[in-house]
């Protein structure tokens, strides 16, 4: 439990909390990015260099940008501050607190955390894993999951493209007419 770990943990959780509570959606997205980056730094701190960098590349470089784009394309930047939380807000918060209580209780009392953690606490240096080893493991032992993931990514890409494809508006007089397409606004 080093100081660096503590600082990064606080940063990450603060980013997460800010992302879930701030009023403007773009601020939420930026706070979410802080949480993602903090997690990447936590991975690096734990010695998982490749995973940390992959997290940074995928989450900060792609997902955060995607979320930002989605916010702007759905006019999320101008949501009125009255209706940020849903009516079931308090119930949700209580459920989350209950989940945290259970998880925390499990962590603090479990023998796994104490047994392994106590044993590994002496093992201060991170296990040395080169990118080469990771690549070989991926290509030998986990080659089938890798292929499945590749297939799934392709399917997801095609699906996302089809979903985002602008549908042809059928002329339906009964349907409530959409407001005239408003331009991109913050």
């Amino acid at each position: 439990m080093t100081l660096a770990f503590l600082i990064l943990a606080v940063l990450t959780v603060a980013g997460g909390v800010a992302a879930m509570t701030l009023r403007r959606l773009v601020h939420c997205a930026l706070a979410l990015t802080v949480a993602f980056a903090g997690l990447a730094a936590l991975y690096l701190n734990l010695g998982a260099e490749f995973a940390g960098l992959a997290q940074l590349l995928v989450y900060v470089g792609a997902i955060a940008i995607l979320i930002v784009f989605a916010i702007l394309l759905t006019h999320g930047g101008e949501s009125d501050p009255e209706k940020v939380f849903s009516p079931a807000g308090i119930a949700g918060g209580v459920i989350a607190l209950a989940v945290f209580a259970v998880l925390g209780w499990a962590v603090t009392t479990s023998s796994v955390a104490h047994g392994w953690g106590a044993g590994a606490a002496a093992q201060t240096s991170a296990p040395q894993t080169s990118v080469r080893e990771i690549g070989l493991t991926l290509m030998q032992r986990y080659v089938l999951p890798l292929e499945v993931i590749a297939l799934m990514l392709t399917a997801a890409m095609i699906g996302a493209v089809i979903l985002a494809w602008r549908e042809k508006r059928s002329v339906d007089p009964g349907a409530p007419s959409a407001p005239p397409s408003p331009e991109l606004r913050v």
Binding site: L53, A54, L57, G61, A64, I65, G77, V131, R185, V186
Partner: protein, 402 residues
Amino acid sequence: MVAGGAADQVFVNLDHWIVGHTPVPLQTLVSIVISIATIIVVFAGLFALTTVFERKGLGRIQNRYGPNRVGPCGVFQPLADAVKSLTKEDVVPRSADHVVHYLAPLVLVGVVFLTYAVLPVGRNMTAVNLDAGVLFFFAVGAGTELAIFMAGWSSHNKYSLLGAMRAIAQMISYEIPLILSSVAVIMTAGTLSTVAIVEKQARYSSTLAHWYVFTPWGLAGFILFMIAATAETNRSPFDLPEGESEIIAGYFIEYSGFKFALFFLAEYLEMFAVSGLGITLFLGGWSAPFSFLTWIPSWIWFFGKLLTLIFAFIWVRGTLPRLRMDQLMNFAWKFMLPMTLIVILSAGIWHFLTAAVVGPKPLGAVIRWLVCALVIFAPFITLARTLERGRKIEKRTYRFAE
């Protein structure tokens, strides 16, 4: 072989000497501070030089002199610019999101400086020798997009938002060919570490170095990499995000004074960083092209190559007009992406066409070269033909002008 002699390691020895003379508990800290300070000073200085050389070079291309007033031949021009930008009023729009507006240039410059950590600027001269160096470069570089978005959105100006959206769309599109063209090198070198990639290229068979740019896939990959890098750093002809004629300055339209200077700095630093990565991946990093030139210090080689690439950037900027948005996107997805995939294929073929397959040295090497070149060139011709067939060039007719 003591390549480069004493001059080669002069900075490394200086660093060791300084660290050796500090008290032991402070040594790590001092070593880190020295690395950071060196990177900042050297590359910020290079930025200052580049601004004046770019303006002079563009001037020469347009048959002008360029700046030549401040100091001898105008070399103190950056100093004058610095004084100007530091003394200008820092205007922040009233409706801007102040915190994000303030943070955006800082995040941008910080992120760009981070990417320099893995660049080997000379033998034993890498700030951090990461096992996943190239991945680190791209992962950290992804932060620039977010910083640009922050700048564009927080200014609360439709032009800056448009510029930011353009910049992000462009950077994401061109990041794919950028990474894919580096994949060919990573595949052949078998490592993600920038230091190891350079060391793989710093070997010599007879006199010629094993630079990847001397292979057909390396040459094609290098060209594709540099095109993608130009787009990635928003430089002309891909400078749509800041197109003056339509969206004035794009995402930094509402920035003035020192913050504007920071954006300017970040843009150039990005260019140096991505050029440095191109040098590391394709042009042999700090190594000399011929074995009889190894007496020149390694850092001179690196910075010489960097200056050459910067000149190429300036040259291209002085030549090509700005693209249109749809042309830009079409180029990325219809040309760059397939070509980079073909380069990866060619690199794979190169890897397996060893001497055992194609025969002994002189003839075998030629066959290997030709086969790999053909694998790239034939699809290139086909692709170019296909793209040109779809392009209709007609005489324009004007409805109202005539």
